[in-house]
């Protein structure tokens, strides 16, 4: 296995709903340590791709190979979402899905579920190992809460729904990070943020890469895509229509047509 082996390799992946091909024979690779942006008009199959990777949908065909430290490759197809997460792929959702009535801290602790192992018996008997693990989970979760900025620490015992919008987005990412993913799928992380927040957020995401996470980001905000991405892949009608660095993709005729042909312009 050399340095150029992709972390994630998708081959001929397809998923259709009824007659609609939401993802159509897609091939793509994600290199370790990069930030890969996925762009494309609404309904072009980006979120479906994420849902297939994370095990929510079963693809009709194709394979999703994840490079793994202990074994050469794992095919993620057929695994259920929690198994995909355990293999090291975390994700966030387009419309934030926090556990709204759990506290900020508890949200992160749930994220560590697959990286801890105490069972019911340990909890009932308050076994030493269970208590030790619980302490570790609390400490680690608190440490993670300080990942982006320190403002989440003082509110860690508040319910998650009390957080302002941008912090809820951050919390959702921290919850995903808590499962120690090697690959992190972010579905429109900057949606709903103002330009000022977006800029701050971009730095946060870069910090994630510096921490060793590989990022795959669905994003509409072209300023964000430009400033963040190592590579960009454009989707249209479930197909990959362009791939390369931001400038290349931006100039690609098919991409321009995909956007201008309908309603969007590209920056």
């Amino acid at each position: 296995m050399n340095e150029n082996t992709p972390l994630l390799q998708i081959r001929r992946l397809s998923k259709s709903f009824g007659g609609l091909k939401a993802v159509d024979a897609v091939d793509l690779g994600v290199q370790p340590g990069e930030i890969l942006s996925i762009i494309g008009p609404n309904g072009s199959g980006k979120t479906t791709l994420f849902n297939v990777i994370s095990g929510i949908y079963l693809p009709d065909e194709g394979e999703i190979l994840l490079r793994s430290p202990d074994q050469p490759e794992i095919n993620l197809v057929g695994l259920r979402p929690h198994q995909v997460t355990a293999k090291g792929v975390g994700r966030t959702f387009q419309n934030i899905r926090l556990f709204a009535n759990m506290t900020v801290l508890e949200n992160v602790m749930v994220g560590m579920h697959c990286r801890s192992s105490s069972g019911a018996l340990g909890a009932v008997l308050q076994a030493k190992s269970a208590r030790r693990e619980e302490r570790r989970v609390v400490q680690e979760s608190q440490r993670l809460l300080a990942l982006f900025h320190s403002q989440l620490i003082p509110v860690m015992n508040q319910p998650a729904k009390a957080l302002p919008f941008a912090d809820r987005k951050r919390l959702e990412i921290i919850r995903a990070i808590a499962s120690e993913p090697r690959l992190l799928l972010l579905d429109e992380p900057a949606a709903g943020m103002n330009p000022h927040e977006t800029r701050a957020f971009m730095d946060d995401l870069k910090r994630l890469r510096d921490r060793g996470h590989t990022l795959m980001v669905i994003e509409h905000d072209m300023m964000m895509v430009k400033g963040l991405s190592d590579r960009v892949i454009a989707f249209d009608y479930g197909r990959k229509i362009a791939e390369g660095v931001f400038e290349q993709v931006r100039r690609n005729e098919m991409v321009i047509e995909a956007y201008l042909g309908r309603k969007h312009g590209i920056a």
């Binding site: 899905r97 749930v110 105490s118």
Partner: protein
């Protein structure tokens, strides 16, 4: 100072309960009940109830001490008052508390509606009844049957849950409803084993060495009635189950239950094995009912299929809902109130279930979080979803 307040508060509450129970006629009792309710509402309007709660929260030790004292004093007081019956009622209330705590794990924590919960109770009760029907002299075996029945009920929970829990929550509700019926139908018709509709009688009480639960407890010049043995056993079991439920609630497993209840998909993508964790809730709840069933069969000495109807399941659901889904003190109070009230209001026996039905609808409309809500559940049920 707080310590004294706490103890006084608990004693006052206990005195109210004792006075209420010793009022023999329904008229005075209703007047008393009305006064107590009005008093409680008045105090809560003044904000005093919250103050009381804060004071007791600050002094958990003195609270538990005072409660323990009252619980121990209870059978003595009613032995002196020569009404052993209320010790029996308290023992039954304790069994319901165990059941409500178990159902609370399924319904309150994991958010899975189990409408056939009484089936697991029946499995526990019949395990012990069938065993003692064949070996009436092996009375010490009670202590083996107790955990074995918990295990058996848990296994039945797994068997029932595994095909259903992968699906939407509503299916579980109706499948459990059906399962409750099936267990009853089998208990009625499998005569060779269950003795059919006639039921199994003469289930003996347990022994510990030479000590038998069938004799009274002599304490000085006083002799506590036979049922006091069960009273103390049930208090200990309920305590154990309550502590277990509380520890689970604050563990990795408990967090996963609540996460599933809040957002199943997000929980799954956060690495929670949704099916396994739901099954666990279901099985643990079932095993608590199995324990309650064994104790019930020994206390009453008799089991028959009619003790395990849907109305019994509905009653336990009411206890959980009235007390507050997910709230451990809540469901205990709910169980005690709903177990004792019908005993005091025998005149209204006929309309009891009618009132429960109406109360359930009203609770859902006006106070879905219950009388003593769990903190988290309160937030959840009071919000109007904006989806």
């Amino acid at each position: 100072m707080d310590v004294i307040y706490t103890i006084l508060l608990v004693f006052c509450g206990f005195a109210i309960i004792v006075i209420g129970l010793s009022l023999q006629h329904v008229g005075p009792f209703l007047v008393f009940l009305a006064f107590v309710t009005a008093g409680a509402i008045f105090l809560s309007r003044l904000g005093w109830l919250r103050n009381f709660r804060q004071i007791t929260n600050r002094n958990p030790r003195s609270l538990y001490f005072a409660l323990a004292l009252c619980i121990v004093a209870y059978p003595f007081i009613f032995t002196l008052l020569k009404s052993a019956y209320w010790i029996h009622v308290a023992a039954i209330a304790g069994i319901y508390a165990c059941l409500a705590l178990g159902l609370n794990i399924t319904v309150g924590f994991a958010g899975l509606l189990d409408l056939g919960y009484v089936a697991f109770y029946a499995i526990g009760a019949y395990s012990s009844a069938i065993f003692f029907r064949h070996y009436p002299d092996a009375r010490w075996m009670f202590w083996v049957i107790l955990p074995a029945a918990a295990l058996l009920a848990g296994i039945f929970g797994l068997l029932l849950g595994s095909p259903t829990l992968r699906l939407r929550g509503d299916y579980l509700a109706i499948v459990t409803l059906g399962f409750g019926q099936i267990v009853r139908i089998i208990a009625t018709n499998w005569e060779s084993v269950t003795n059919g509709p006639k039921g199994i009688a003469d289930i003996p009480g347990p022994t510990i060495g030479r000590y038998s639960f069938e004799t009274g407890i002599p304490v000085g010049s006083l002799v506590l009635p036979r049922v006091a043995n069960y009273y103390f056993l049930i208090v200990l079991l309920a305590l154990g189950i309550g502590v277990a439920a509380n520890r689970l609630n604050h563990s990795r497993i408990g967090r996963a239950w609540i996460a599933i209840r809040e957002d199943e998909l997000a929980a799954s993508c956060s690495g929670v094995n949704v099916t396994a964790i739901k099954l666990l809730a279901f099985a643990i709840g079932a095993s608590f009912a199995g324990i309650a069933g064994v104790v019930y069969s020994s206390l009453i000495g008799f089991v028959d299929p009619m003790s395990f109807t849907f109305m019994e399941s509905a009653m336990i659901v009411c206890m959980v809902v009235l007390g507050g889904m997910g709230s451990i003190p809540g469901v205990i109070v709910g169980a005690i109130v709903l177990a004792i009230l019908p005993e005091k209001l025998r005149e209204f026996e006929q309309i009891r279930m009618l009132l429960f039905g109406a109360a359930l609808i009203a609770m859902m409309a006006f106070r879905p979080e219950g009388l003593i809500p769990s903190k988290r559940r309160e937030q959840e049920l009071l919000e109007t979803t904006d989806e």
